[in-house]
Amino acid sequence: MRKKFVSTALFYLVVTGIALVVLFPFLWMLSSSFKTQVDIIAWPPKIFFAPTLQNYRKVFGEQDFLKYFLNSTIVGTAAVGVSLVLGLPAAYSIARFTQRKLAVFILLARLMPGISFLMPWYIVFSRLDLMDSYTALILSHILIALPIVVWIMSSYFSTIPPEMEESAMVDGATRQYAFWKIILPLSGPGIITATTLSFLFSWNNFMFSQVLSMEKTKTLPIAVYNFLSYAEVDWGGVMAAAVAIMAPAIVLTMIFQKYVVKGLTMGAVKG
C-alpha cells in the first residue's frame, strides 16, 4: 500500500517535471512580454515585477502587426483552400485506385528541402515581377499545404469502405457524383485535420516568406524576425510579437486538439 503511494507520488512528480520543461519557454515569453526593458535586463532575472502593456501597444500600434496578421491569414487561407481543391480528388484517386507512385510523387514535396525550389522561384518570380505579390507567396505555400492534405486525406479516404460509393454506382450514379455527394460529406473529420494542420504549417513558415515577401505581403514570422535587426534588441517588444504570433496557433490547436494529434501521428502509426 505504502509502496503504491510512493510510486504514484513519484509518477506525478515526473509528469509535473515534464510539463514544466515543456511549458517553461512559453511562460518566460509571456512574462517577458509584460516587462519593461529595465525589468528584462535586470540581474538576477525578475519573477515578480509590475506588468506593463507598453510592448503590446508598440507591436500593434507602431509596428502595424494587424497588417502582417492579415497577410498571414490571407496567405494561409488561400493556400489551404487551393490545396483542398487540388488535393482532395488526388487523395481520393490515390486511396481508391491504390496509386502509390502518385502518392510518393506528391509527398516528395514534403521530403525535399524547400530551398531547392525557393532559389529557382526567386529567379522566375523576379523576372515575372511577382516578388512581394500574394500570388507568389500563396503559390509557394500551396506546396507546403498540398502534401499534407494528400497525406492525411488519402489515409482518411481509405478508411471509408468502397461499398459506400459502389452501392450508389449500382443505382446509376457516376463515381464523380458519388465522390462529391457521398464521400466528401463523410469526410468532415479528415478535412478538419488536413485543414488545421496545413494552415498551421503555412502560418509558421519562415523561409519562403523571408525571400518572396517584402513590405506589402510581409507575414507574421518575418515581422517577428525583423525585431532582431535593430541595434539593441527590444526584448519586450519581440516577446510580445512572439506571443501575438503563437496565440492564434495555440488557440487553434486547443480547439482542434484531437484532430491535430491525429494528423501529426496518423502516417506513422498506420505504418
Binding site: 519557454p25 532559389m119 465522390f179
Partner: protein, 292 residues
C-alpha cells in the same frame, strides 16, 4: 451498369491531374532548373547570363573547407538531435502510457511546442541563452556552475541549438509512440507478467519491440526535418559565430540570397537534396529489414 462517359472512364487520371500539374510546375521544374544551374557559373548581381562550366562549380564547392564543415555539421546536428529526441521521446511515452488524472491536459501541453512558430521559439531561446541577462546562466550560477557562452561561442553553439530542437520536437516522438502504444494489444504484456517478468523486462523485451516500427517511422520523420532545420538556426545565430553553426541549408540560403552565387548555391542544394533523400531511403531500408 456501364458508365461510358469520358470523365468516368478516365477518373483515375483526371482526378489527380490538377495536383500533378501543380507539383510538376512548382517542384519538378524548379528542381531540374537547380540541377541545371549547378553546372553553370552565375552571379545574379553581375547582370551577365549564366555560363556553362560543367563540373567546375562542383569542384570548387565540394573541396571548400567551409562546405565540408557545413556538411559534417549538418550530420552532427541531425544525429545528436534525433538520437536525444528518440531516447527522451520514447522514455516519456512509456512513462505517460497509463491512465492518470490530467492525461488529456498533458497531451495538450505536448502539442504546444509542435505548433509554436519556430522563428519565435528561436528568439525566445535567444533571450534564454543571453550570456549577461539570460536565465540559462542564472540557473547555472544558482547551482554553483560557471556561466556559459551558449550560442555566442563557437564551441557551445551547436549543442545549444540541438537543445532547442530537442525541446521543440521530442514531444512529437512521444505523441507518435503513445498513439502506437494505444493501438497495441495487451495480451503479450499480460502473458509476460503471468510468466513473472519484471516491469523492466516487459518494457525491454515486449513493449519496445512491439512499437519498434512506429518508433522508426517517427525517427524517419524527424530525421528528414532535422537535416533541413533552418528557422531556429537562422533566427538564433544566422550560422554564426563565424560559420560555427552553419549547416548546408543555411549555407545554401546565404549563397542564394546574400551572395547571389547561383551556380555554387545550386551545388549546395543538390548535395543537401541527395543527403536528405539518401538518409530517408537508408532508414526506410533499415526499417523494412527490421520488420522482415
Amino acid at each position: 451498369m456501364i458508365h461510358s462517359s469520358f470523365t468516368e472512364r478516365n477518373l483515375p487520371r483526371l482526378f489527380p491531374l490538377p495536383a500533378i500539374v501543380f507539383v510538376a510546375l512548382l517542384m519538378v521544374f524548379p528542381v531540374l532548373y537547380t540541377l541545371f544551374l549547378s553546372f553553370t557559373s552565375w552571379s545574379l548581381t553581375s547582370g551577365m547570363p549564366a555560363t556553362f562550366v560543367g563540373l567546375n562549380s562542383y569542384a570548387r564547392v565540394l573541396t571548400e573547407p567551409r562546405f565540408l564543415s557545413a556538411l559534417a555539421r549538418t550530420f552532427a546536428f541531425t544525429f545528436f538531435a534525433v538520437a536525444i529526441e528518440g531516447v527522451l521521446g520514447v522514455a516519456c511515452a512509456l512513462i505517460l502510457n497509463r491512465a492518470f488524472v490530467g492525461k488529456s491536459v498533458a497531451k495538450l501541453l505536448l502539442l504546444l511546442p509542435l505548433v509554436a512558430t519556430p522563428v519565435a521559439i528561436g528568439i525566445v531561446f535567444n533571450l534564454f541563452y543571453d550570456p549577461t541577462i539570460g536565465l540559462a546562466n542564472f540557473v547555472l550560477q544558482s547551482v554553483g556552475l560557471p556561466p556559459g557562452l551558449w550560442i555566442s561561442s563557437a564551441t557551445s553553439v551547436l549543442p545549444s541549438l540541438v537543445l532547442v530542437d530537442v525541446w521543440q520536437w521530442t514531444p512529437m516522438i512521444t505523441l507518435i509512440v503513445l498513439a502506437g502504444l494505444a493501438g497495441m494489444s495487451e495480451e503479450p504484456v499480460e502473458a509476460a507478467r503471468i510468466d513473472g517478468a519484471s516491469e523492466w523486462q516487459i518494457i525491454r523485451w515486449v513493449t519496445i519491440p512491439m512499437v519498434m516500427p512506429v518508433i522508426l517511422t517517427a525517427l524517419i520523420l524527424r530525421l528528414i526535418d532535422a537535416l533541413k532545420t533552418f528557422d531556429i538556426i537562422y533566427a538564433m545565430t544566422g550560422g554564426g559565430p563565424g560559420y560555427a553553426s552553419e549547416t548546408l541549408n543555411i549555407m545554401g540560403f546565404k549563397y542564394s540570397f546574400e551572395y547571389f552565387r547561383m551556380g555554387q548555391s545550386a551545388v549546395i542544394l543538390v548535395v543537401l537534396f541527395v543527403v536528405v533523400f539518401g538518409c530517408s531511403l537508408g532508414i526506410m531500408k533499415l526499417r523494412a529489414a527490421s520488420e522482415a
